[in-house]
Symmetry: C2
Subunit: 274 residues, 2 copies
């Protein structure tokens, strides 16, 4: 009972990406860099953000609604750029929609375990992502010898959205959050939240330059590139006019500022009422 395929052929077939808000634009940026020219449709559910603090049932419902929005406008590949949705709603989305669906957790996990054995991996994310245990479970499933240390960093999203990227307070809070990971001498650190790439330099400085940082947006972009190389029919169908359309369920001046920060460039957001 999948939805998709031929239902909306009048729309231009393209890559659809959704997130709870604007953080997923770091993933869009990675995909734009690795697949230049591909049309992209983005939906940020800013009217109901953030998802990190909400229950799995609520996040699943939102993820299905967001996917439907993208599919109805032509998306033929779905990228779930929200860690909370990726860890709780992937199955619901793949079971409901008959399309290839990618999400930000597994690619980061696969990149992390490709490390000197035995891997000692740190994971940082929102409280919900860390509490779900999704990174630890998936790492252990693929590499049972891995040691995983997870730390919730719930203040980093509001700090990034405030634009406090290099204030002493942010430096201090990042240092405090990373302290338990430093004492565990991790070798790899997964940024398990779409906002964190914006703080990557600061995080690298505080965790130490010998730790390899895995950016989940960049990893899922690599996965989509590989998928298209292996599926030339799908690749051929996707429109490549370099059009990028950004929809949000709510709009404010602050969202527009943050969107620019996340995409690291100019961006026009279109408000749609769900």
């Amino acid at each position: 009972m999948g939805i998709g395929g031929g239902a909306n052929e009048s729309h231009i077939p393209m890559i659809g990406i959704f997130d709870s808000g604007i953080g997923g634009l770091t993933t869009v940026r990675a995909i734009m860099q690795k697949l230049p020219g591909y049309d992209i449709l983005y939906y940020g559910d800013t009217a109901r953000m953030p998802y990190g603090s909400k229950s799995p049932e609520t996040v699943r419902q939102y993820a299905l609604e967001n996917t439907r929005f993208l599919v109805e406008r032509g998306a033929r590949i779905i990228v779930i750029a929200c860690n909370s949705a990726a860890s709780t709603a992937m199955d619901a989305v793949t079971q409901t929609f008959d399309l290839p669906v990618f999400e930000v957790v597994n690619p980061a996990v696969e990149a992390a375990i490709a490390a000197p054995l035995p891997p000692r991996i740190g994971v940082i994310g929102t409280r919900a992502t860390i509490a779900s245990g999704v990174y630890e479970a998936r790492i252990k499933a693929l590499q049972p010898n891995a040691t995983v240390h997870s730390v919730p960093c719930p203040l980093l999203v509001p700090l990034v959205e405030e634009g406090w990227l290099d204030t002493p307070e942010t430096t201090r809070i990042v240092k405090k959050y990373l302290h338990p990971l430093k004492t565990k001498q991790i070798r790899t650190l997964i940024l398990g939240c779409t906002h964190y790439p914006i703080l990557k330099e600061l995080i690298q400085k505080k965790i130490g330059k010998s730790v390899r940082i895995i950016d989940s947006g960049s990893c899922v972009a690599d996965t989509v590139v590989r998928y298209l190389a292996q599926n030339p029919q799908m690749d051929a169908r996707l429109e490549k006019n370099g059009e990028h359309r950004f929809f949000v369920s709510d709009i404010t001046a602050q969202f527009q500022r943050s969107a620019r920060t996340m995409l690291q460039g100019p961006i026009h957001l279109t408000h749609v009422r769900m």
Copy 2:
């Protein structure tokens, strides 16, 4: 075309309070203290929180839906305990529902201008509340000689919700936010966000003990007490079994912990799907 009155007489008539999330429980606590025994119905829209970052149109729509939820379950008086909703949705709620509606902004403004002349008033709140200019406009309307200095403090809500009530980081951020108000030598400080009473001691310490702090939840509770004294017929209708029911549109362990922090006591949250 008001809604209310006799529509749902099968429900117990009581005081209804809503907020974007759990912060409004500080207002519930103030009302419980000043009107002990009165039945209270609370609705926290945790599935769509926070409102502070969202647009006025979206906040108005949410406020109408929340009020309808309370009215359908017996609320005969509405208290809007959310500053974002109070400043943008009060007119929409009063025009749609035929009930007495109170909100947290005006009572705080009235308390603030009852100060030695000319009043020098500071206001702190979320970015949306401060950007709306609602406190400044209402203060000036009542007391044109007042000087008002407003400072957005968007990180205080996530800090309180994290339970970082007396960490060095919170102390430092509070001090940083209040610094411009200290240099203006304000005499009165309005806490224009329901979460801030939880940080009242720290705020008092950092702004200085000579500054009078106005807690908007406590002020709206005083207003409801006065209204009931002046409207004995309404007072007589309200049920006084000391029953307090707390509904939320989403529930997590973190919401439950925060609810306990806000109410400063045990609390049972009931999840309802809107």
